[in-house]
Amino acid sequence: MKPVSLLLGSRLTFDVTILAPHVPFLLKGALLTAEACGLALVGSLAIGFLVAALRTSSSPLLSRAAFVYVDLFRNIPFIVQLFFFFYGLPEIGIYIDAFSTGVIALSIAGGAFSSDVIRSGILAIDPGILEAAEVSGLSKPVIFRKIVMPIALRTSIRPLGSVFINLILTSSILSTITLNELTGSAKIVASDTFRPFEVYAVLLVVYASLTYLVSLAISALHRHLNRDRMPEVA
């Protein structure tokens, strides 16, 4: 007990009010995180549906290419992908700013995971439903948009939620490429104030609340997409 209290004793106060002047700065960081994650969410969904469509397509070439993409990006640490885009590509003359790099890298990585989830959602669709659609003369793109996507989304929305939460957590790594999002600005405040304990305690709470809100939203969306299986409101 003694050494612990001694250690604690060396810093007697836990005072978050000390952070008050830095709140606008942290908020700016949080906003950047929200923007990057929001865009990356759209990006990974778009890539996810596209790649899932390719992987379930009848063309062996397309499905093979899609498979390679998924396998590749799922098996490389995110930070390595990020460094490659941000520090590697300029060597061959491709410059992308930190924010765009972050969004693109998150979308590509998130897209690989999303496509897997969406693909199993697509494979779970009763083939009879797709046959009914085909026989009624609907074109393939219409079937994909009006039947395949919404039905796959019904079953994949929960696992997609986990992918998005992961995306938010992973976005903290963007701080390593000079992007002062939430974690990046917290780092700056911590070193400015010499109060890492308070700063990172707040950061913990903020990330936890953010992901909790997202999981609430996912649950609500899941209920909405599966509203037909809920008791009817008379």
């Binding site: 439903i129 046959e131 009914a132 003369g137 609907l138 009006k146 997409l225």
Partner: protein, 244 residues
């Protein structure tokens, strides 16, 4: 008319359809009988283009279902009702019925919905237009399935054991709709195990056995003692069906 000539289809080494010739003219109701595994569903699936023929041809109003360009037209002229309904689970009854008219026939939403509502009304589902399939009974789902097919204003209705997933009461409600359709001159190809019902609505009965069309007779002849019943295979089948 629907015209099948020398239709062959195998899965692996098993010949499921072994040279089928069949004509279905406008306003006819042709029932296809045959024991399980005789190839009835496969024949329907060849007609609506879900299976590719190995040999022979099927034309619907002279549109060849084996030609991609013709198939689209053939599918506009025919509509299928499925044994397991195959409704779109994420859409209401109304949306199930209006989707293809809007997307394929390019009807306006208002027009498609008006048609859909009157169809749903006519099968006693007017009040359930906004219900989802999961909220409907089997019989109600199949009635939506029929409306979805009819909304395309098809010349030919292909029906594959559409009551075999239903209990007797629901079967009766679905069959009564078919009886009405038959009266209005809708052309139907009707795969069924409901022998007695087939007898009342069919103009012709066709009997499939191991992928071959062994009998094709006007209904009365089929059931006459000296007609189809004179064949042991058919009388066996019918007495077995009636027992079940």
């Amino acid at each position: 008319m629907i015209r099948a000539r020398g239709v062959r289809k195998s899965f692996g080494s098993a010949a499921v359809l072994d040279g089928i010739d069949l004509d279905v003219h406008g306003s006819e109701v042709v029932s296809i009988l045959g024991s399980s595994g005789s190839g009835k569903s496969t024949l329907i699936r060849c007609m609506n283009g879900l299976e590719k023929l190995d040999a022979g041809s099927i034309t619907i109003d002279d549109f060849d279902v084996s030609l991609p360009k013709d198939l689209a037209e053939a599918r506009k002229r025919s509509a299928t009702v499925f044994q397991l309904f195959n409704l779109y689970p994420h859409m209401t009854a109304l949306q199930n019925v209006t989707l293809a008219p809007i997307q394929v026939l390019k009807r306006s939403r208002a027009e498609a919905e008006a048609t859909a509502r009157s169809l749903l009304d006519s099968v006693g589902l007017g009040a359930r237009a906004d219900a989802y399939p999961a909220q409907l009974s089997g019989g109600q789902r199949q009635r939506v399935g029929i409306c979805r097919a009819l909304a395309m204003n098809p010349r030919y209705l292909l029906l594959d054991e559409i009551t075999s997933a239903l209990d007797p009461e629901m079967t009766a409600e679905v069959l009564s709709i078919l009886a009405q359709l038959a009266k209005t001159g809708t052309t139907m190809v009707f795969v069924t195990h409901e022998i007695e019902f087939a007898r009342t609505i069919s103009s012709r009965i066709v009997f499939l056995d191991k992928g071959q069309l062994v009998v094709d007779l006007p209904t009365e002849e089929f059931f006459a003692a000296e007609g189809g019943m004179a064949r042991p295979r058919i009388s066996q089948f019918l007495s077995k069906m009636r027992k079940d």
